[in-house]
Symmetry: C2
Subunit: 361 residues, 2 copies
């Protein structure tokens, strides 16, 4: 079990990473002094897998528990769902000592974090992420959100959890698609910040794809540390430091949106977005062809797409211009100068974007 | 025109108080560099009174404007209304440079502030309060909220505005009830923090009730300063300093809730709550009878109730136990040791509360 401290002064918290540690969750929460009544937001299939272990762990540490099941779809990330869950929390919160546990992937983490941020102007919550993506990315850093019809994550808050508790042991039940989706972000961390992680992935991708525990544990620890260090320096994405986490995301989001979130999942779209951003970096002579090739090879090796087949160029460009990362109608790309080195560039001409997008078709 | 600085480091902002200053709002916002497109949340009657002046002031400073009218009732403070307003903002926010103006009383300020806190994880907003209560209390300090069926203000955030712009000139159109409701909080500031303000009110209450501008301007400035100083020391109500603002509110909220918010308005209920809290303070020999009498006399002089007639003792006691100010099932009262001096006391026996409540019937 490894503890990573995310230092945000009064909002500091630990990220605990280990294998098969779910049974210790109660004792870790007990140290935080955040309440006695655990309100666990999750879905039916996760509750089936880990509900009993978690329930026992919490009760042994003297907590009461209430599980709230929400449907396992992106549609659960809505204001309506947030309201209805909060109405349920109020009924449970008779003794005014409730805290919230988000037990699940990104949808549950984003929704539960948002609920915690607005219930009674802020209620303590714990992230217990159960997907690779949530463990290394969305579960850390306090970005919470729900969607609107007009766009994803348009409503939300920066609101930090009191603990992130990542049991890499639960990843063994992930399907290949979910694993790959998380791996896109793992590759991203290597590209933007960690050449050694990148080399590790080049060597060990097969162990990861076969869900070998030491390899999974390693990447969760390594990526959690990178994410924590970045969030620590730029909690609210105001200093341009956290921005580098958006590598591959400017076009990645457009690729997701172009297919109405049914064409490509997040990891697939981010993989494609990273390829285009790398290609633009090569175009601007920020990296050489060899580096580009290593990135493309790794993405291909883990089974993520390198060609765009399910959405049209026109739809991507349109979605790109609606993206909330536009600042005052300028576009903004995170590019790379090498493995582990980024450069933020504004106002890349549409011609260059299109040209490099086209290569992916 | 007077500027009060509320110092919260990165979240600092000015409170500007003056008479007939609405026409200068544009130039003050222009200095803040918070966007170009003003989304003004208000209601029909306020827009009728000040819409043209505000629209002109903003356009002269180069802003675009969009007015959003919401019904003038507490029911507007809901998650449903927040969602529907945000969906409208998204349509207006094509160029990603929207900021929000709350033009109205407490309902509009609370709702608009909450919307600003969650739209895109935080969007700049300005408070332009148009009631006495909003100018001296709810418009300052960043407490935003919407209601649930189960209780008021159960959902919300601490989210500071970028400017509070209080035109005391608009108070001349207030009805007597609204003025008195605000005066309850003005009296509260005198009791908890400012003996000179209390004496001023004892002498000048008639000028205030006749809406004389110098008197109104004075109390808005004085109370804004007190509120700013308290918020500055305890932004998120964590240090027990901001707590003193709850003088009269523990039972006041219970009195409001006991009548399902139709028996007594906020100011009336707070006046009654302050009387009971003062009576308890007298009981515990924290103040003498003379001080109690001055408080009762002032409340009576401005036309606020000193007797409870519209709700039952039983309902007040029940509502009291549901109040969110209970901490771990303890009650907590702000009492006084004199005009301008408070003392927070926990776990006042129910017998003492009941006894002093009964005197008001």
């Amino acid at each position: 079990m490894k503890t990573i401290k995310l230092d945000l002064k009064k909002r500091s918290y630990n990220i605990i990473v280990g294998s098969n540690i779910m049974k210790f969750l109660g004792t870790h929460i007990a140290k935080l002094n955040i309440g006695r009544d655990a309100y666990i937001i999750t879905n039916a299939s996760i509750k089936n897998k880990y509900g009993k272990t978690l329930d026992k762990a919490l009760k042994q540490s003297g907590f009461t528990t209430r599980f709230k099941l929400i449907p396992d779809t992106e549609e659960s990330k809505s204001m309506g769902m947030a309201s209805s869950v909060i109405e349920d929390i109020v009924c449970y919160d008779k003794k005014k000592r409730v805290f919230i546990i988000a037990l699940g992937g990104g949808v549950i983490g984003d929704l539960a974090g948002f609920i915690a941020s607005i219930y009674k102007r802020g209620t303590p919550y714990i992230q217990v992420p159960t997907t690779l993506l949530a463990q290394i990315d969305s579960g850390i850093g306090g970005k919470t959100a729900v969607d609107l019809i007009q766009g994803k994550n348009l409503i939300g808050a920066f609101y930090q959890p009191r603990l992130v508790f990542s049991d890499a042991g639960v990843l063994k039940t992930l399907g290949l698609k979910q694993l790959q989706s998380g791996l896109a972000e793992v590759i991203k961390y290597g590209i933007i910040k960690d050449p050694r992680l990148f080399v590790y992935l080049e060597k060990k991708y097969q162990a990861i794809l076969s869900l070998k525990q030491p390899a999974l544990g390693f990447i969760v620890r390594r990526c959690s540390l990178i994410k924590a260090r970045i969030v620590q320096q730029d909690e609210r994405e105001e200093k341009g430091i956290r921005t580098i986490l958006n590598f591959g995301h400017t076009l990645g989001h457009a690729i997701e949106a172009a297919g109405d979130y049914k064409g490509y999942n997040h990891g697939e779209a981010i993989a494609l977005g990273m390829l285009v951003a790398s290609d633009i970096s090569r175009n601007l002579r920020l990296i050489n062809h060899e580096i580009f090739q290593r990135i493309e090879n790794l993405i291909k090796a883990v089974g993520l797409p390198t060609r765009i087949q399910r959405v049209s160029l026109k739809n991507i460009i349109e979605a790109h211009y609606r993206d909330k990362k536009f600042i005052g109608a300028k576009n903004r790309f995170v590019l790379i100068k090498g493995i582990g080195k980024t450069k933020v560039v504004e106002n890349i001409p549409l011609g260059i974007i299109k040209e490099n997008l086209k290569k992916r078709f």
